[in-house]
């Protein structure tokens, strides 16, 4: 599991690559922590290379979203594959996240 965070055009972009299972969750959560400190910037989580996600991964996404919403920011999810989208849709996460391509 590989996590990269970079800032582009005033937006925080997190690139996730690999399989976000329970085993990888703790590590990924740590890597994503900088996003919690972002003030007034939108966050884009790029899932183009994310192959798999379990509920542990969803929990990280939810944490980021709740944090951003408290600060008035937006969280966009970009380019999820079919398998990951299915997990989002089963859990109703597709209703609370904004998706961009």
């Amino acid at each position: 599991m590989k996590t990269t965070i970079q800032e582009l055009d005033g937006k925080m972009i997190a690139m996730l690559e690999g399989s976000l299972d329970t085993a990888a969750a703790a590590e990924t959560e740590e890597a994503m922590r900088p996003l919690n400190d972002v003030e007034g910037k939108d966050i884009i989580i790029d899932c183009t290379l994310l192959e798999y996600i379990s509920s542990a991964g969803l929990r990280i996404f939810l944490g980021i979203l709740q944090n951003a919403q408290e600060k008035g920011g937006h969280v966009y999810i970009k380019g999820i594959n079919e398998k990951v989208r299915e997990v989002f849709s089963i859990t109703g996460f597709c209703n609370i996240f904004e998706f961009i391509s």
């Binding site: 399989s19 379990s54 509920s55 979203l65 709740q66 408290e70 299915e86 089963i90 859990t91 209703n95």
Partner: protein
């Protein structure tokens, strides 16, 4: 018919009739007595009067007859002084008639040649001729007097006597006259009979004299001679030729004969008899020594004519009076009772439903006034009661409607779709509930969760609406609790606590809760005071049950868990006491023995499938109960377990420790399984995430933090299904009863957690938890996609 009907209908006519009838009775009695007395008095008076007249007449007749005799005797004496001088005879004869103008004639007749100078005949005969007196010599060849009766009677009997009436022929005038004569012989100094002196009385004259004696207008007198010959009779044809017996020769009449004999014997008296068809009183009396008898015949109608007139008048007046009285009574009573008629009409109005009909005010203080007032009171009460009754009826109808709806709701609560063989190959189930009233207190319920059948049967104390409400609560609580709890004793305990908390009226429910693990046939159950179910399979037997206590009143009770292994084909038969206590007309109960019999027979005939068993039991109960009223709710439920055939094609295992990093191995294991089954990426991803979530859950909750534990995962597949079994030996932990995550809430409100179970449920067909042999066994099942589809997808990929 019409009159009788009118009398029966009209009180006034009836009362008047009674009064008038009573009065008529009194009148009849009084008048009868009066009439009888009057009649007797009149009769007595008639007798007196007639007797008086009779006496007077008889005295008069006797006087006349005496006069005849005296005159005859005197003349005889004179004649006997001058027996030698014929001329003197004419003088004596003439003197007699001069002195007695009412005599008819007088003859002084002598023996032939008594006066030789006079020849054969000499009779000085004197008779009235108008106002003058004619005296002639009466004997001649044409009238040989010495052959006459009167002459012969006097000479032969040698003593004076009265002749029977005879017709006297008066030669000079050529007239006939009916006469009776007094004749006596004349004798000379030697006592030799020398002639006869004969003095006649005209019977006509005598009759007239006697007939004057008429006490009543139509009465008449008769006089008979010695032989009963009529001397005097109003019918002059009867004189001399008929006697009093003549008529009775033709028509025997004892009364007439008796009268005749009595008169002949010279008796005095009175007789009532039929004369020529009319009733008459006949008063009779002898006339001195003449041997004659006189009778006065008085027709009864004459005697009582005045009386009858009075009687008729009085009767008519009384009748008219009674009729008038009847009329007046009817009018008066009708007028007095007319308010009643009005009241009756108003009552009819009221009876026909017009309760607001105005009652007339009679302003009377008598009984009718009281009746009218009472009637008005009654009307008001009636109106009030009817209103109340309407309300009550409406309320009752409303309640009835509510009850029917409640019944429908209650029945709607019970499951009515039972799995068929096409639906499930592992269990068959059927149930029936027949409430004794519209709504009942029995309940049953079942549903499938994961690979388990949750079922219960219960019986609320009591019947009717209260029981039905409690039943509804019980069923709702069962559903709520059993969603979060898989062990029956825990379900029952939670239900008990919940329901005891809200049970203020001390109702309770006996309950049997079972959870049948369908893959294994393992039954967990808990009994709360309910009848032990029957097992129908390898023989008949009761499922061993701890009684515990019914649910709902002792929140602290610890219900004991029980378990049993159900063999394939065995039917669990559950029932309420409405079955064993079903009563027939003789109040005999169906009893457990009959339940066993029916079950045994069903088993013997291999008819122990739930529907067959319950139908048989229902028939048996109906037959037993007959037409007796159902006394209690009757509920039956049967569950037949059929173990699925095991045809595992593939089986693999992996063992993990309770470390989340082990999920990598796990995912690789699952991917490998899916690959072997040639499943596509999406399917594989679903399996992967589901198994990972399940195992991570166990890792997190089954073992306390820091405690090392083993988790074993077995994957098995047959032609249609893929199964993952996750087994651990940690503390009992049932992930299936976790609160479900709400996936519809906004991010801010969403809890972190619970998502894993949700993901599993969404991806897998079933998630089933079992605690057995101190291990948690979680089974996930998924139907494999059809092989053809699988291949097509694979070709595409």
């Amino acid at each position: 018919m019409g009159i009788i009907h009118r009398i029966r209908r009209s009180l006034s006519v009836r009362v008047s009739l009674w009064v008038v009838l009573f009065a008529a009775g009194i009148f009849v009695a009084a008048l009868s007595f009066l009439f009888y007395q009057s009649r007797e008095a009149i009769r007595q008076e008639a007798i007196n009067r007639a007797t008086q007249i009779l006496d007077k007449t008889s005295l008069r007749v006797e006087g006349i007859l005496n006069r005849v005799e005296v005159a005859s005797n005197m003349t005889r004496w004179l004649v006997e002084q001058h027996t030698d001088n014929p001329g003197t005879m004419f003088v004596l004869s003439r003197d007699m008639m001069l002195n007695n103008p009412d005599f008819y004639n007088c003859s002084i007749a002598f023996e032939p040649y008594h006066f030789p100078e006079e020849g054969l005949y000499f009779s000085a005969y004197t008779k009235h001729e108008g106002d003058s007196i004619r005296t002639i010599q009466g004997g001649s060849d044409s009238y040989k007097y010495f052959y006459m009766d009167w002459y012969l009677m006097a000479t032969l009997s040698n003593k004076p006597c009265w002749t029977e009436p005879y017709i006297d022929y008066d030669a000079p005038t050529g007239t006939y006259e009916m006469v009776t004569s007094y004749c006596q012989a004349l004798k000379d100094g030697d006592g030799q009979i020398i002639g006869v002196i004969n003095t006649s009385l005209s019977l006509n004259w005598l009759s007239n004299t006697i007939s004057d004696a008429k006490p009543y207008p139509n009465s008449y007198s008769i006089m008979t001679g010695r032989g009963g010959t009529f001397f005097v009779h109003p019918d002059s044809t009867k004189l001399t030729c008929q006697s009093i017996f003549t008529q009775s020769l033709e028509h025997p009449d004892t009364a007439a004969i008796a009268l005749g004999h009595a008169m002949q014997r010279g008796e005095e008296g009175m007789k009532r008899m039929d004369v020529n068809g009319k009733y008459c009183y006949v008063f009779y009396k002898p006339l001195g020594k003449t041997g004659c008898s006189m009778a006065i015949v008085c027709p009864e109608s004459d005697i009582f004519s005045g009386f009858n007139r009075v009687r008729h008048a009085v009767t008519s007046i009384v009748c008219a009076g009674l009729l008038l009285m009847l009329y007046i009574f009817i009018r008066v009573i009708t007028r007095e009772l007319s308010p009643l008629h009005q009241l009756a009409e108003e009552a009819e109005h009221i009876a026909s439903g017009q309760f607001d009909a105005k009652l007339p005010d009679f302003k009377r203080i008598d009984e009718i006034g009281q009746l009218s007032n009472s009637f008005a009171d009654m009307q008001q009460s009636l109106v009030r009661y009817i209103e109340e009754l309407k309300d009550t009826t409406a309320q009752k109808a409303s309640i009835d409607r509510d009850i029917r709806i409640a019944s429908a709701i209650q029945m709607g609560m019970l499951p009515d779709k039972f799995p068929t063989r096409a639906d499930r190959d592992d269990v068959q189930l059927y149930a029936s509930l027949t409430p004794a009233k519209d709504v009942g207190g029995d309940l049953f319920d079942f549903y499938f969760r994961d690979e388990k059948l949750f079922f219960c049967i219960g019986d609320v104390s009591g019947k009717g609406v209260p029981a039905s409400l409690f039943m509804a609560v019980t069923r709702a609580v069962f559903r709520t609790v059993s969603v979060q709890e898989s062990m029956p004793h825990n379900i029952v305990m939670t239900m008990n606590r919940t329901m005891a908390g809200m049970n203020k009226i001390h109702m309770f429910v006996t309950l049997f809760v079972g959870v049948l693990d369908l893959p294994t046939g393992h039954l967990h159950y808990c009994n709360a005071g309910h009848d032990a179910p029957l097992l129908v399979g390898d023989g008949i037997g009761q499922l061993p049950c701890d009684t515990n206590i019914p649910v709902g009143f002792m929140p602290s009770w610890k219900y004991t868990p029980q378990e049993a292994q159900i063999n394939t084909g065995t039917t669990i038969f559950l029932f309420t006491d409405g079955l064993t206590e079903a009563m027939n007309r003789e109040k005999a109960q169906f009893e457990m023995s009959r339940v066993n019999e029916v079950a045994a027979r069903a088993l013997a005939e291999k008819q122990q499938e739930p529907r067959q068993l319950i139908d048989r039991m229902t028939d048996a109960v109906h037959q037993f109960v007959g037409d007796a009223e159902q006394s209690d709710d009757l509920t039956m439920m049967a569950v037949q377990y059929i173990r699925p055939k095991s045809d595992v094609l593939m089986r693999e295992r992996i063992s993990l420790t309770n470390d989340v990093s082990e999920t990598r191995r796990l995912n690789a294991f699952v991917e490998g399984i899916c690959a072997r089954l040639q499943l596509d990426n999406i399917f594989t991803a679903r399996m992967k995430v589901s198994v990972e979530e399940a195992v991570v859950n166990v890792m997190k909750y089954a073992y306390p933090a820091g405690q090392r534990g083993e988790i074993e995962i077995e994957a098995a597949a047959n032609a249609t299904r893929l199964r993952f079994t996750i087994t651990d030996s940690g503390k009992p932990f049932d992930p299936t009863i976790q609160q479900q995550a709400d996936t519809t809430r906004p991010a801010r409100e969403r809890a972190i957690g619970g998502l894993g179970i949700h993901i599993i449920r969404q991806n897998m067909d079933s998630m089933n938890y079992e605690r057995a042999d101190g291990r948690n066994i979680l089974t996930l099942r998924k139907t494999l996609p059809p092989l053809t589809a699988n291949k097509v997808k694979k070709l595409k990929g």
